[in-house]
Amino acid sequence: MPIPILMPALSPTMEEGTLAKWLVKEGDTVASGDVIAEIETDKATMEVEAVDEGTIGRLLVDAGTEGVAINKPIAIILEDGEDKAALEGFDPGDASKPSPSPRPSPQRGEGDVDDDAAQNSPSPRRGEGGAQREGDGKVRGVEPASSTVAGKAGEVPPAPENGGDRIFASPLARRIAADRGLDLAGINGSGPHGRIVKADVADAVPGKANAKPQAAPKADTKKASALVGSLPDPRLYYEKGTYEEVPLDGMRKSIAKRLSQSKQEIPHYYLTIDCELDELLRVRKELNARGEADGIKVSVNDFIIRASALALMKEPDCNVSYAGDALLKHKHADIGVAVAIDGGLITPIVKAADTKGLAQISAEVKDLAERAKDRKLKPSDYEGGSFSVSNLGMFGIKNFTAVINPPQSAIMAVGAGEERPVVKNGSLGTATIMTVTLSCDHRAIDGALGAKLLQAFKRLIEDPLTMLL
């Protein structure tokens, strides 16, 4: 019987992708492991391998097709001895149902809470599961391997429709909702610009009816409205012709969605500290001089990554993910490094950075950054992580705050190292100072805890030799 090849879910958060290129054509013989297609997601271009052998009977999706939903059949493989006649009356959609049908992963079943809040951001548990499973970097294009991933990804709920914290509702609607115990967040507004009015709450049943239907918003994610949330469409404010409209690519959509979710749902707070950099710069110079022969050149950022990892090991309560009903205490410090690339940014991860020396971190970051720029990162390279570093020092930025990259719980925004006047023991002098600002998820990390982490980081940076301990 012909075997359908389904659109694979390349990451836990993937909902659809672009079939960039077919590497096989109808009639080609394929063996398990052969690369058959390239698929572009919001973050990367991935190769799809066949896991079954046979002959490509039919390509169902043209190369270049955008927005192919996961689990949609994209091709049909004929098994040995079958010919095209077997395709007659074969419905790939139908055939795909019994075997690779999406089912919830075990993690989700036991862990996730069913309320909206928990569903709206990808649960760390899910993220982790995905990353681990795909640890070998290979992605299966067909069942049954894809089914687990696909199942999970299929359940990732769409972006919330409300773009901001503020819910627009008439005073009367608010009062009726309060009286009846209705949550306005779950109600669609029918008034001007989506304002919730009396009619919207009058017939709503607490917890149920008139709440946003589960299926409807899924389709809505494709609409611009989902990405501007409840804010008015900016096109209302500008005359046509005074601007050029550039459609969002997958990466921009992903950034918009994930970071909006993060800022809306994660209670961010910020801690800022100054670090003296002179000793670190001296050590770095010395290290680079000695490693020159071996082509080793470590950057200040490499030190920062290692210092972050070690600080997290010292304050393991900060090395956590908030999972709704539990905190996940990570055993290693997986440090994400924000890399600006053409048209967006991505945060590849230096895994277990606490176990890696400066030279190795340096080499890994270089490799990750290059592959990021070529959009060749695998989901396992950027999904998960426990902490991120975002450095804008090279642009002369003195101080800034960053948005936490879920499922992580903290991100450090690093400013430029610059000579500044400092007072030491009552006299004025100068020192190279770098200001860093830590954004923490208050649900997981309380203020004093975050402060301790920052303190540990500062000690390591100011006395870099301790990073050897």
Binding site: S170, P171, L172, R175, G191
Partner: protein, 448 residues
Amino acid sequence: MATSYDLVVVGTGPGGYVAAIRASQLGMKTAVVERSELGGICLNWGCIPTKALLRTSEIYDHLQHLDDFGLSASNISFDIEKVVKRSRGVAGQLSKGVTFLMKKNKIDVIKGTAKLAGKGKLSIEADGKTQDVTAKHILLATGARARALPGIEPDGEVIWTYREAMVPKTLPKKLLVIGSGAIGIEFASFYNTMGADVTVVEVMDRILPVEDEDVSAFALKAFKKQGMKIITGAKVAKVDVANGEAKATIEVAGKSSTETFDKVILAVGITGNVENIGLEEAGVKVDRGHVVVDGFGRTGVDGIYAIGVACVEKIAGVKDAHPLDTSNIPGCTYCRPQVASVGMTEAKAKEAGHDVRTGTFPFHGNGKAIALGEPDGFIKTVFDKKTGELLGAHMIGPEVTELIQGYAVARQLETTEAELMQTVFPHPTLSEAMHESVLDAYGRAIHI
């Protein structure tokens, strides 16, 4: 002139011409058809010219009470011809304004009488010639006319409709007004103030029957004080015209009596102009003289609508178009004192099952009203006890037609009593009475 349009509006009253302008703003190629003057009845023979007449009677009334203000004048009189001339001038000016607006918005004006002529087609007849235009969408805004009563046919001489009542050659000495709705009461108020002996006959048990009962009762007292004769629960069975006089047979509680008047104004409501436009052939539903539409003015027949900006926006595909909530349309009557209201009366609210809270504040507790020398009247507000929704507001008194919009905005925004109470109303203004009325509904009125 083109013969093919995105939208053709039939009728150029404020419903039609405003919709046409909005359509043009939204980029639709638009035309209007008018069989008479641009601006329709409202501008030419209704709302506007009567306001001009009532302004005259208002000033005339002030002149009768100059002494109260420390002023004096002698030989106060009027020239009815000049009064009418001013009213016509005002109407003419506004009609010209509409002509200008049509030009400015590049809307073609087609003179003639339109008739639906198949899907997307109108045939327009003028001076015996017929021209056809095609339109993707046809918006009916044909307005209304005075309703007639069996046995009482307006003749334009002795028995008037609003039309003749607006252009009197002489002031009638003894006038019968049949009907005490907004139109009847406004004419009654005008002629009574100008010195006519006015009798109003109303079939219902109270005047201004659509208003709150408290308002009707207060208006009745005020009008009687001004010398008007008002008979409620009464029916004018017939009017015999002979020798330029009208002999009216009035029935009250089964008893019949006759009285002679030199003029009669028939003001028993209006009926929609829905005849001879091919509605039946097109399949458009008409109920009691009105085209049946939904909140977006859709008749249910593809491409045919009946007035409204919301309707035009829906046709043009405006994303945030919202249907008209008719319960938020304020009503105004420009008698003396003025009457204005929005939303439900207390009785209607109770009938609808609301547990209500009402507040009332009299203008004699309002500094500005006393300073103006017009302390008669009150403002009544009706709230839902449970939700604090402003269900309705009912006003009688000075300039209340200008005040009612405040409550209309409040209703549109769905404010509760809390926001209204928190709002700062300027001092000293008549609008403070609006605030006080809300406060009173919650036992917090200050100046009472």
